[in-house]
C-alpha cells in the first residue's frame, strides 16, 4: 500500500485547537450535568435511607445475604479492566490505533474503580468502619487476618486505584503543558500546577516514555490479579456454584468484555458530542468491534466450560445451582444473558456492523446488560440453592436496591465523565501527533499526491504550508503505511 490510500493530514496546531475546543462547556452541557447531579444526589439519598433503615429495604433474606451490591461491585471492577486493556496492553504492543481513544479508557478505569470502591463501602453496611479491612491494628492491637480474601481484595483494589490514577496523570502531563500555554485564568493555573513545569525537553520525553512503559507493564498484570482476587472471594469458599476453578479466568475475560463494551459507548458519545469525528473514525470502531467480538467468543467458551464442568462433576449440590440458573427461577435472566453476550455480538463478524455507530452502541449496551446479569446469576443462585433444601430461598430485588446498586452508579459515572472531558484533554494531544511525525519526506509525498491529482496526501504534520482537509481521520488505514505507524 502506498501512502496515498485515504486522506490523512495532521496539522499539529489544529490538534491543540481542537482539544481546547472540547474544553469549552455550553449551556446545554451545564443543563445535562445539573440533571445528572440531581440524579446522583437522589441515588446517594436513597443509599443514606438504606444505611439508616437497614437491609430490610433490599430483597435480602436469611439465605441470600448478598443482594445486588456484590454483583454491582464485580461489574464495576470489570468495567475498569477494559480501560486498562486499551490503554496499557495496547501501548505495550505498540498498537497505534489506541492513541486517539485511550484517554477515555483510562478515565473509565479510574472512575469505575472509584465507583467499585464506593459500592464496596456501601456493602459494608457500616461504611464508617471501613478501616477494619485495611492492614491496620484495629482492636486490642490485633491485625486483620491476612489470610482473608477480603484483605487481598482491598489491597488489590487500592493498588489498582492508585496505579490507574498515576497512569492517567503521567500520560496527560505533556498535554497539560500544551494546554497551559493556550489557556488563561483558572484553567491556566490548574494546568500549570499539574504540568509541573513540563517543557517537552528531550530528557523529559525520554524519561516519560520509560516511566509510561514501566507503568503499563505494572498495570497490565493487575487486570488478571484484581479480577482473580475478586473471584477468589467466592472460590475459596465451599459454597456450591461458587467453588469453581474456572472463575478466575472467567472473571478476567468477563471484565475485559464489559470494559471494552463501555469504552465503545464512551468513544461513540465523545465522537458525537465533542466533535472529534476527525480523530475517532470508523477505523477505530472497526478495531474495537473486532476486540469485542474476540472477547465475546472467549467469554462464551469459558461460560460453556463452567456449565459443562458443573454438570459433568455430578455433584448434587452443584447440579441444584446449575438447574436454578438454566431452568429454574433465574432461567429468564440466564438466557437473556446468553442472547445479549453470545448471540447478538456475532453480528460483529460483519464489518458493516462494526463501523456503524448505531449498531455498535446497541450491541455494546446489550453486552453490558448481559455482563451485569452474569454477575447476578453467578452469585444469587449459589446463595439461593445452598447445601440444604431448608436453606433454599427466593429472591426479588426491591426498587430501592435496583436504584442504589444498579442504576445509580451509572448516573455517577456519567456525571464524572462529563466533568472530566471539560476539565482535562480527552484526546491525547501528543500521542495523536506521534501518529505522524513531521518529516520532510511526508511533505514530499503530499506534494506528489497533489501533482498526481490524487484525493489527498497522506502527509503528517502540515508543516509551513499548513495543509488542511482531514477527511480520513487519525489512525485511518492510510496512516498505517507510514513507517511510524505499526
Amino acid at each position: 500500500m502506498s501512502d496515498f490510500h485515504g486522506v490523512y493530514v495532521i496539522d499539529y496546531s489544529e490538534v491543540n485547537q481542537d482539544v481546547v475546543k472540547t474544553l469549552k462547556p455550553s449551556g446545554r452541557y451545564f443543563a445535562v450535568l445539573f440533571l445528572f447531579g440531581l440524579l446522583v444526589l437522589g441515588f446517594l439519598g436513597l443509599y443514606y435511607l438504606m444505611s439508616t433503615v437497614g437491609l430490610g429495604l433490599t430483597g435480602a433474606s436469611s439465605g441470600i445475604f448478598w443482594v445486588t451490591d456484590i454483583p454491582a461491585f464485580i461489574f464495576w471492577i470489570g468495567l475498569a479492566h477494559g480501560g486498562t486493556l486499551l490503554s496499557a496492553l495496547l501501548y505495550i504492543s505498540r498498537t497505534k490505533w489506541r492513541n486517539p481513544i485511550y484517554r477515555y479508557a483510562e478515565a473509565l478505569t479510574v472512575f469505575s474503580i472509584l465507583i467499585a470502591g464506593l459500592i464496596l463501602l456501601m456493602h459494608l453496611g457500616r461504611p464508617w468502619r471501613f478501616f477494619f479491612i485495611l492492614p491496620y491494628p484495629v482492636s486490642a492491637g490485633a491485625w486483620p487476618s491476612f489470610r482473608s480474601p477480603l484483605l487481598w481484595d482491598s489491597l488489590a483494589i487500592g493498588t489498582y486505584a492508585v496505579g490507574s490514577i498515576l497512569f492517567l496523570y503521567l500520560g496527560m502531563i505533556p498535554d497539560l503543558g500544551a494546554l497551559r500555554d493556550r489557556t488563561t485564568g483558572w484553567r491556566r493555573g490548574l494546568y500549570k500546577f499539574l504540568a509541573a513545569g513540563w517543557r517537552g525537553s528531550d530528557t523529559q520525553w525520554r524519561h516519560l516514555n520509560s516511566a509510561y512503559l514501566l507503568m503499563a507493564c505494572f498495570i497490565t498484570p493487575l487486570i488478571a490479579l484484581v479480577s482473580s482476587v475478586v473471584s477468589w472471594d467466592f472460590v475459596v469458599s465451599l459454597v456450591p456454584g461458587l467453588h469453581s476453578t474456572v472463575y478466575a479466568p472467567y472473571f478476567v475475560i468477563g471484565a475485559l468484555y464489559s470494559g471494552i463494551a463501555m469504552v465503545i459507548i464512551l468513544v461513540i458519545l465523545a465522537r458525537r458530542f465533542l466533535g472529534l469525528d476527525n480523530y475517532i473514525t470508523g477505523h477505530h470502531l472497526d478495531k474495537l468491534g473486532q476486540l469485542l467480538l474476540a472477547m465475546s467468543l472467549i467469554w462464551t467458551y469459558l461460560n460453556a466450560v463452567e456449565l459443562w464442568s458443573s454438570w459433568y462433576a455430578g455433584s448434587s449440590f452443584d447440579t441444584q445451582v446449575l438447574l436454578a440458573r438454566i431452568a429454574g427461577p433465574f432461567a429468564p435472566l440466564y438466557w437473556a444473558m446468553t442472547l445479549f453476550a453470545t448471540i447478538f455480538p456475532l453480528l460483529l463478524i460483519s464489518r458493516r456492523a462494526r463501523v456503524s455507530s448505531g449498531v455498535m452502541i446497541v450491541i455494546a449496551a446489550l453486552v453490558n446488560v448481559a455482563m451485569w446479569i452474569e454477575r447476578l446469576v453467578i452469585i444469587i443462585p449459589a446463595l439461593a440453592r445452598s447445601h440444604l433444601p431448608n436453606a433454599f430461598a427466593d429472591y426479588v430485588p426491591t426498587i430501592i436496591e435496583i436504584t442504589v446498586f444498579v442504576i445509580g452508579p451509572f448516573f455517577l459515572l456519567a456525571a464524572l465523565m462529563m466533568i472530566f472531558v471539560k476539565l482535562f484533554p480527552s484526546l491525547s494531544i501528543h500521542e495523536v501527533k506521534e501518529l505522524r511525525l513531521p518529516r520532510r519526506s511526508n511533505q514530499v509525498s503530499q506534494a506528489l499526491a497533489s501533482l498526481m491529482g490524487m484525493p489527498a496526501a497522506s502527509a503528517g504534520h502540515a508543516g509551513p504550508a499548513k495543509a488542511r482537509g482531514n477527511q480520513g481521520g487519525v489512525g485511518a488505514p492510510g496512516a498505517q503505511d507510514n513507517e511510524d505507524i505499526s
Partner: protein
C-alpha cells in the same frame, strides 16, 4: 552572571536532527531540544540513550515485595490468629500480598523516578518556546560562548524557522524566559 545562548526553531524533525548532527560535529555539546512529541531520532542525534527510571522501579518493586511479606509475617508472629491448623506464617496468602505491594511500590517509585530524573516539578522560568507545545522543534544551545554566530549559521543552514540569541543564568538556570518567540529580523534573512 549570565551566559549567551541560542535557541533555534524548526518545522521538521529531519531538520532538527540534521542541525543537531552539524552542531555536534562543530564541537557544540551543551545541546538540548524541546518538541511537541517524543522523537527517537533526536535522542540518537544527541547520543542520549540512558534511561534510569527502571532502577527506581526495580528498587520500589523489591522494597514493596519485602514490605508486603514482612508486614503480615511480623504481624502474625506478634499477634497470632490460629486458623484451622494453618502455619502462623502462611506462604500462599502472604506471597499474594507481597506481589500486590511490589506492584504498588514499583509504580510509586517509577513516578518518583520520572519526576526526579526529569527535574520536575519546576516552576522557574527557563528557555522555552510555547510553539514547541504545538508544532515546532527547538534546539537550545546553552553555552555558545564566543561562537554564537557560527551556531546560528549552522541552525539556519538546516532550515531553522527562527534563530534567537538569549541570555541564560550560569550554569544553566533561567534568567530570561523566552516565550514570545518573535523572530529576529536577522533570523529571517
Amino acid at each position: 552572571m549570565t551566559n549567551p545562548a541560542v535557541i533555534g526553531l524548526f518545522d521538521f524533525e529531519d531538520d532538527t536532527v540534521e542541525a543537531l548532527a552539524k552542531l555536534r560535529d562543530a564541537g557544540f555539546d551543551d545541546l538540548t531540544t524541546q518538541s511537541p512529541v517524543s522523537s527517537e531520532r533526536i535522542d540518537i542525534a544527541l547520543d542520549k540513550k540512558h534511561r534510569y527510571v527502571g532502577r527506581f522501579t526495580l528498587a520500589g518493586a523489591l522494597l514493596g515485595a519485602l514490605f508486603g511479606f514482612l508486614l503480615p509475617a511480623i504481624a502474625s508472629v506478634l499477634y497470632p490468629q490460629p486458623q484451622g491448623g494453618m502455619p502462623v506464617i502462611s506462604l500462599p496468602p502472604y506471597a499474594l500480598i507481597a506481589v500486590e505491594m511490589a506492584i504498588l511500590f514499583g509504580m510509586l517509585f517509577t513516578i518518583g523516578g520520572f519526576f526526579i530524573l526529569s527535574g520536575l516539578p519546576t516552576f522557574r522560568s527557563a528557555p522555552y518556546s510555547i510553539e514547541t507545545g504545538e508544532d515546532k522543534f527547538a534546539i537550545v544551545l546553552a553555552e555558545a560562548d564566543d561562537r554564537i554566530l557560527e551556531a546560528k549559521n549552522i541552525m539556519r543552514s538546516s532550515s531553522a524557522v527562527t534563530v534567537e540569541e538569549i541570555e541564560i543564568e550560569a550554569p544553566a538556570k533561567a534568567a530570561k524566559p523566552d516565550t514570545d518567540n518573535k523572530p529576529e529580523e536577522e533570523a529571517q534573512t
